[in-house]
Amino acid sequence: MARRVGIIGAAQTKYGRKPEMHLQDVAFEAVQKVLQKTGLKFTEDGSGIDATISCSQDHWDGWTISSKNVVNGGGGHLRPEEKVAEDGAYALYYAALCILGGHYDCILVVAHTKESQVDGRLIENSGLEPLYTRMLGLDFTSCAALQAKQYMHTYGISHEQCARVVIKNRGNAMHNPCAQAPEILTVDNVLGSPVLSEPIRLLDAKPTSDGACALIIGTEEKAKKWTDKPVWIEGLGCSYDRHYPGYRDLTDPLSLKEAARQAYGMAGISNPRGEIDLVELSEYYSFQELLWSEGLGLCEPGQGGRLIESGATQIGGEIPINPSGGLLSGIPVNVAGLNRAAEAAIQLKGEAGGRQVDGARTAVIHGAGGVCGQMHCVISVRREP
């Protein structure tokens, strides 16, 4: 990159069901926290935050143009505000491009969603193409189950290997004060939980969650001025695959591989497993952490099960994945990718407390969206020694 973009600060709400809060106040809480942390303000003269980029989704918020919700809570009053209606990683991607393009020097990125306000399976159903898919009554979990079955069948991945993802991530969340569902679990707990859609069980899926996450990013000059621990965005990639699951090989996440290729190429990463210190990825279901690990080039195709069994992805392992607790510990959709970025930044700033990966200098942020991971966004970050 000709110019560098730095993450200045990150903050989050505690995740969980928030029936007592209005949507806007959820976003407002995360924004207030990040302003307090960084000491920055919304300004017009370049002395603070120039613009807001929000991330939310109309159907989840229950009205169209959902960014209306964050005009006040996100500092958008009579100011530039734009919405990215995809995963929060895409909002960060777009914000970084706005800075690289020279249009703004400092941007607040905020993502919010209250999943508890609606039966999300109906939102997912309405997100499916109407002629061939939606009428069948499918949602993202039933489609993901088809992906899980095919993946497990093709590569001999066991349900126990998938359960180990749940155990690791919910266990990691014990050290994350923002996590919704920290818990020490066993394989029997996971395999004994109620079936949602074979082979996916209740504990294989992320819980319903409400919350918001806010990040402030800036030019190299601003980042150096406003934080003594800037985290540099070095690689950016995104890619879409076909929507219809039957048109894809669900066991081969091509759009993730392509997003990773772009990001790694930009950041000069040739051996991701050796060069990356930690990964925060978007596992909406336990098996997806294994499949996305393969797509991110952390292991060979079909080796995701062995990777988790080897212990390499634990905190303290060779390539820790989701030391935060991941999505399985309860992060809302849309917020998910931005939360991955916040957690990666917290790690590289050395502020992760009990979940800190010792000496972490490089991290990969992964956001996913759409049915069976139709689209992926990969962002690599690094801190200076």
């Binding site: 069901r17 029936p19 007592e20 159907h59 229950g62 508890s116 306000q117 609606v118 039966d119 399976r121 109906l122 159903n125 309405s126 109407p130 002629l131 061939y132 898919t133 939606r134 009428m135 069948l136 009554g137 499918l138 949602d139 979990t141 039933s142 489609c143 189950a145 088809l146 992906q147 899980a148 079955k149 095919q150 069948h153 109620p194 079936v195 949602l196 859609s197 074979e198 082979p199 996916i200 076909r242 219809y244 699951p245 039957g246 048109y247 669900l250």
Partner: protein, 174 residues
């Protein structure tokens, strides 16, 4: 093609009443009950229309082939995204094929066409290069295997939509 009656659509957005469990968290938060519902007409265009008319009138499943890469798409698409060209050549694929994946969905949402458990499958029809996503029936999901031969069962009364195939069942046992 016949469209489903618009009155079907409101169900798609039916909101589930929040769980009573929510109320024990704090001081019984106030809930404003809402519902997003609107009739909507999707126009499939000539290519998908032909696919549905063939299902309805001839109980035939049609694919369409990309002139560049040769991929036979089922269900049909007007373009091959990979090659960025229009698909043109119609090909009748078999009403039978191989099961590539399956699942039994045990929860209920009001948009499901049959009572839970709803069994879904990805079926690669003979002559197709893509998998068709559909319902499975007349089968215990426990005996299904990836690779099982499946055949389409058509509805008696067909309306020109994807549910004109009622479901797929294991082939040859009937």
């Amino acid at each position: 093609m016949a469209h489903r009656k618009p009155t079907k659509y409101p169900d798609m957005f039916h909101l589930i009443t929040p769980s009573k469990r929510l109320n024990v968290l704090s001081k019984d938060p106030f809930v404003a009950e809402g519902r997003l519902a609107m009739p909507y007409r999707y126009f499939p265009g000539p290519v998908a229309t032909r696919f549905f008319v063939e299902l309805r009138d001839n109980k035939r499943i049609m694919g369409i082939k990309c002139p560049d890469c040769g991929t036979v798409y089922v269900p049909v698409e007007t373009t091959c995204g990979k090659c960025f060209v229009k698909t043109e050549e119609w090909i009748e694929v078999g009403n039978e094929g191989v099961l590539e994946s399956y699942t039994a969905t045990h929860y209920t949402i009001p948009v499901q066409p049959t009572p839970a458990p709803v069994i879904y499958g990805l079926i690669k029809l003979d002559g197709a290069d893509t998998d068709l996503l559909h319902l499975l029936g007349e089968v215990d999901p426990q005996v299904l295997r990836v690779g099982t031969r499946m055949e389409a069962v058509f509805r008696e009364k067909r309306e020109g939509n994807i549910l004109d195939i009622e479901y797929f069942r294991p082939a040859g046992n009937h």
